[in-house]
């Protein structure tokens, strides 16, 4: 079965570290590199701060894909946070694959502060991948909050207060 989703505008949440990828994305801006507008960045101090539950929450709240990006190996501003991130992501990635999630919805990358062009490529590729896969309704259907999601889009974000994962 091949479905095309050309009209579909995917929603992708990106979790990036402050020192490398966020700055790399800044450089993409300074260099005026045009890219798809489907990605929303959430800045973390380090990818070591990243909790796989963030991704589940993002999916639950309507994201069709996620991106995680930090400093290259050995370049972490905090010495080793990116290694923790890599291990966590590897386990999470396998788990998601096991439960039947297409791994192309989850992008993991290293983008340094000098790699504005690489950030653009990561974004464009992730958007193209997720667009081909279509909306991630399957995941949202699993969660009890999914019913509320549509409503939440219209009004206040539900349960933002101390919303424990």
């Amino acid at each position: 079965m091949t479905e095309t989703h050309d009209d579909f505008e995917p929603r992708i949440t990106a979790f990036v570290c402050n020192w490398c990828t966020y700055t790399g994305a800044d450089l993409a801006g300074t260099s005026r590199l045009h890219m798809a507008s489907n990605v929303r960045i959430i800045r973390l101090p380090c990818t070591g701060r990243m909790d796989p539950l963030f991704f589940l929450k993002a999916f639950e709240r309507g994201a069709d894909g996620i991106i995680v990006s930090g400093c290259h190996p050995a370049d972490c501003h905090y010495t080793s946070g990116n290694y923790h991130a890599r291990r966590r992501f590897a386990v999470f990635h396998d788990l998601m694959e096991f439960i039947g999630v297409d791994p192309r919805r989850m992008t993991f990358s290293w983008v340094s502060a000098s790699e504005g062009a690489k950030w653009r490529d990561v974004v464009d590729e992730a958007v193209a991948n997720v667009r081909a896969l279509g909306p991630f309704d399957a995941y949202r259907a699993l969660t009890p909050e999914s019913g509320e999601t549509a409503a939440a889009r219209e009004t206040t974000p539900a349960g933002v207060d101390g919303d424990a994962p």
Binding site: T23, D26, R32, R40, C46, G48, S112, R153, P157, V160
Partner: protein
């Protein structure tokens, strides 16, 4: 209830061109918890900041979101303004709608929608920000300068003259760097050694400067104001405190044919050597790679194969059994001044570079690079200043100078301009013509880039007064043809091929960062560009700072620099360091982790993952002093705020202030508002 103010900046046309700023402000007005939203042409300008301050007062705001540029650009600016208006400055955050939105999208509708989303996520975050107090940290008023070239010497002298101690380290046996190799300097043609060596001596004798030569940075710990640097003092074999520099050891060394680094391979040195006669300190080192004794030891000979230098040393300063030593220096600021190296014209190339097969991979002996020409022209050089070609020692009657070898050539891995070559080529042509009056100097160039005080006049003088022939065009091939070096080129002005039978060719090879700079950058947590040059914090406004607070940069390790530039940068870095040292305490962002002792179960997983050893176990006692359990405790002075502990905490008991779970989940939740 939160009362957040949203301030949308047009940034002139920068944001306004692609984002409908008024629509963003209008959309945010209706967002829950937003008490006020407005847009303005230049929010960072004084009237813009006044707007923010006024709104805080009028609307009794509890938080501020400035939708403008990257937080790396103006977060400080707006936090200062918010602080002045009496609101805790950590209640202010930037929504990046410029770098991450208006500059990278073209469709106005899409960009505006995205800008609204970005502003909303940050509003949701700010609703969960808590007022925080900055952390005060003490400043160690000592500086470390890495690299003893002209930039490092200048920075060290400026800081030392300002009254603070400086630790200057140099990986070679002497300070002086590349400038000590130069014959004369543009645009004044004054002798390089004559202006440099007094500075070298001054640095050596300065009461505030502690010099470690033959040393490298091993490890860097800590942060601004409080670095702890471990320095590897490579085994010199010669005791620097006992040796009086008499040179008897050099005279007896049997290994006399080692290519001298200082002479750029054109001269020879012994295994125990002083790099050059004016070296500072004028104390030899033993090159263990090339020493007969150490070669023998490596082979496992039972008896030492040599030992002549030790016998010759009447002071008893030589000890073959010394090993690398490690010393630790505590400093508050670091200046990186590691300089440059030239693109190697030989066959061996570092990763990513192709080398110059078309120029014979430097295997034609009379094809040399710019630094080798400096040594030929230098009065202290291997030919005592006579221009003699390396192959047969004859005076070359035709010399071809080739500009831009590697530079401005993406195909060779470097698209940047090396900046100094146009000037030193003009200088070389002049020096050559001054020494060989009947000689012919021909230069192949792409453009003449002589921007600088007195620079264009200087390069014109080479042509107009000294008769150098400048041909605009590239050289396609250089090869040996009997006694001569054939140069095939193309003159793009006349549209003709040019073939020159040269006696010697000088290649102006590209300036590259010094070896090992990437490793050093990693130790310092500073970033480098794709070529390995160290990134400055801002190309225009913060040219000598790096993205790590307390680490500064000077000279050619940041980009190709000539001497005046390097010295200016070094003095600028010195001024920055002195500014830092003018205060006793620094303010640091309170981005540190805090443990909730009520819920912590004491599993200490956080301690395992903390890269700084900032987490320790603390005992909990009952009223009568009995230990009844333990919890984790974060030392705020050591914590750097990465948040790795928070991600592994089983009981949600540790949180990184400024990036709490509450804040991040609020941001994620805010995105479900995507339309």
């Amino acid at each position: 209830m939160s009362r957040v103010g949203v301030f949308v900046c047009h940034c002139g046309e920068n944001i306004g061109r692609t984002v409908d700023c008024a629509a963003v402000a209008e959309a945010l007005k209706d967002h829950p918890g937003v008490a006020h939203a407005e847009d303005y042409k230049y929010m960072c300008s004084d009237p813009g900041q006044q707007l923010v301050k006024k709104a805080i007062e009028e609307h009794d705001l509890t938080g501020v979101v400035v939708a403008a540029c990257s937080p790396h650009m103006h977060e400080k600016t707006f936090r200062r303004a918010v602080d002045q208006a009496g609101l805790n400055k950590y209640m202010c955050e930037m929504a990046n709608i410029r770098e991450h939105c208006s500059w990278i999208h073209e469709d106005r509708g899409e960009a505006t929608d995205k800008a609204i989303d970005i502003a909303r996520t940050i509003v949701e975050k700010v609703k969960h920000n808590r007022p925080l107090e900055s952390i005060k940290i003490p400043v160690t008023k000592r500086a470390l300068v890495i690299g003893g070239g002209i930039a490092g010497i200048q920075a060290a002298l400026d800081i030392a003259d300002g009254g603070h101690e400086v630790v200057l380290i140099e990986k070679e046996a002497s300070i002086g760097g590349h400038m000590s190799q130069l014959s004369e300097t543009f645009p004044t043609l004054d002798c390089s050694q004559c202006i440099l060596t007094p500075r070298m001596v001054e640095a050596y004798q300065h009461p505030n400067i502690k010099l470690h030569t033959w040393s490298e940075v091993e490890k860097v710990d800590g942060y601004i104001g409080n670095f702890e640097v471990t320095i590897r003092k490579k085994a010199r074999t010669v005791d620097i405190d006992i040796c009086n520099g008499c040179g008897d050891c050099l005279a007896v060394c049997p290994s006399k044919r080692i290519p001298s680094e200082f002479e750029a391979g054109l001269g020879k040195r012994t295994a125990i050597y002083v790099p050059f006669p004016q070296a500072v300190p004028n104390i030899p080192v033993l090159d263990r790679e090339n020493c007969t004794l150490f070669k023998g030891r490596r082979k496992g000979l039972a008896k030492d194969a040599c030992g002549k230098c030790k016998e010759a040393c009447l002071k008893g300063a030589i000890d073959y059994d010394t090993e690398d030593e490690f010393v630790t220096e505590e400093v508050g600021a670091i200046v990186v001044a590691t300089g440059y190296k030239l693109y190697d014209i030989g066959r061996e190339q570092p990763e990513g570079l192709k080398g110059y097969g078309e120029y014979g991979y430097g295997e034609v002996p009379d094809v040399i690079d710019g630094l080798q020409f400096e040594r030929l022209a230098s009065a202290s050089g291997p030919t005592a200043g006579a221009i003699l070609r390396p192959s047969d020692g004859k005076e070359p009657k035709t010399v071809v100078f080739v500009h831009c070898v590697g530079s401005r050539d993406a195909d060779k891995g470097m698209e940047y301009c090396s900046k100094i070559c146009c000037m030193y080529n003009a200088k070389h042509a002049m020096l050559y013509k001054h020494k060989v009056h009947d000689g012919r100097a021909v230069a192949f160039y792409m453009d003449i880039r002589a921007a600088g005080k007195g620079y264009d006049e200087f390069s014109r003088r080479a042509i107009e007064e000294d008769g150098a022939e400048y041909i605009r065009g590239r050289v396609s091939r250089i090869f040996r043809d009997g006694d001569t070096v054939k140069v095939w080129g193309f003159d793009t002005l006349s549209g003709e091929q040019v073939v020159i039978d040269a006696d010697m060719v000088v290649l102006a090879t590209a300036i590259r960062p010094q070896d090992g700079v990437r490793e050093l950058a990693q130790k310092l947590s500073v970033s480098t560009d794709e070529h390995g040059f160290i990134n400055e914090a801002h190309p225009k406004l913060r040219p000598v700072e790096t993205n790590t607070a307390g680490v500064f940069v000077a000279g050619a390790c940041q980009a190709p620099r000539d001497i005046p530039d390097a010295v200016a940068m070094a003095s600028a870095a010195g001024a920055k360091v002195l500014g830092l040292f003018s205060t006793d305490e620094l303010e640091r962002e309170p981005a540190v982790a805090v443990v909730n002792e009520k819920t912590c179960i004491g599993c200490m997983r956080c301690e395992l993952v903390c890269p700084y050893g900032a987490i320790e176990q603390r005992e909990i006692c009952t009223v009568d002093g009995q230990v009844c359990g333990h919890t984790a405790f974060v030392n705020p002075g050591v914590c750097q705020g990465c948040g790795t502990c928070e991600a592994v905490c089983l009981s949600n008991s540790v949180e990184l202030q400024t990036f709490t779970d509450e804040q991040v989940y609020s941001e994620i939740n805010a995105l479900s508002l995507w339309e």
